[in-house]
């Protein structure tokens, strides 16, 4: 490991250990959990997760059925 890389690692470690909590805070809410923006981000993440799961659930169902059909076809031939 070069001296430069070592310096970067040391600096990052020092920041993690000694820096003020605000520096490490979430860049959206800055630890203000009851802010409007925080609620908005939570809602947005909820909607996106809902949509993603709605799309992925049929994909999983299809994959399972596809595998079963292939197995049935394989045993028939």
């Amino acid at each position: 490991m070069s001296a430069r890389t070592l310096g970067r690692v040391a600096l990052t470690a020092a920041m993690c250990l000694f820096a003020d909590a605000v520096i490490q805070a979430c860049p959206i809410c800055f630890q203000i959990e009851d802010a409007h923006l925080t609620s908005g981000v939570r809602a947005a993440v909820g909607v996106l997760m809902g949509v993603t799961l709605t799309v992925l659930a049929p994909v999983v169902v299809f994959a399972v059925r596809f595998a079963r059909r292939q197995k049935v076809q394989g045993s028939a031939t």
């Binding site: 409007h36 923006l37 925080t38 609620s39 908005g40 981000v41 939570r42 809602a43 947005a44 993440v45 909820g46 909607v47 996106l48 949509v51 993603t52 709605t54 799309v55 049929p58 994909v59 299809f62 059925r65 596809f66 059909r69 292939q70 076809q73």
Partner: protein
């Protein structure tokens, strides 16, 4: 070149490749609109003040367009269950209805812009124009697909046209569902 499984079902997937392709396309479109609905949730919930759609937009025009877009799907669904000649007729009717939707939407936009309601006016209007504009683009694509299916019906087999119409029916149901969500979020809430 003969592409396999365009009219007959594959045993392993249970559907034709045309239908499977349409389902995959719809899944990608759901993610596209899902990202926009997520942005809507972020902007709406984090906004200190959010106007009511009833106060800003014209609910009557939105309601008319809801009926029109539902009629488009009904017509394509009818085409799906009809023999070739009747299916062509229903697809043309659906296309005319879809053009009506776009005409009404254009009128609505012109009234709003004349009243100073532009995308830059507020976050609500920016979201409204983005969502309805993208939906209108999908209606235009649907019109193109309808006309392509009608024009192609004289060149390809009946089974092929039936497969295309089935896929179009799926697409228009998707366009309908998206519109109903947009109508609920922008006009009613």
């Amino acid at each position: 070149m003969n592409i396999p499984y365009t009219t007959e079902r594959r045993l392993d997937t249970g559907v034709t490749n045309v239908t499977l392709g349409m389902w995959l396309f719809i899944a990608s479109e759901v993610m596209l609109f899902g990202a926009l609905f997520s942005a809507y949730a972020l902007l709406r919930v984090s906004a200190v003040d959010w106007p009511s759609g009833r106060a800003v937009l014209n609910l009557a025009i939105g309601g008319i367009n809801t009926v029109v877009v539902l009629s488009v799907t009904a017509a394509v669904w009818r085409a799906r269950r009809s023999p070739a000649a009747a299916a062509r007729r229903w697809l043309v009717i659906a296309t005319v209805l879809a053009l009506t939707f776009l005409g009404v939407k254009t009128y609505e936009y012109s009234v709003e812009v004349a009243a100073g309601l532009r995308p830059a006016t507020s976050t609500f209007l920016a979201m409204y124009f983005t969502l309805t504009g993208l939906h209108a683009a999908h209606v235009m694509a649907g019109i193109g697909a309808n006309l392509w299916a009608v024009a192609g019906s004289t060149r390809v087999s009946e089974a092929m046209t039936a497969g295309r119409t089935r896929s179009l029916a799926l697409y228009w149901v998707f366009v309908d569902i998206v519109w109903l969500i947009i109508f609920g979020l922008m006009y009613l809430l």
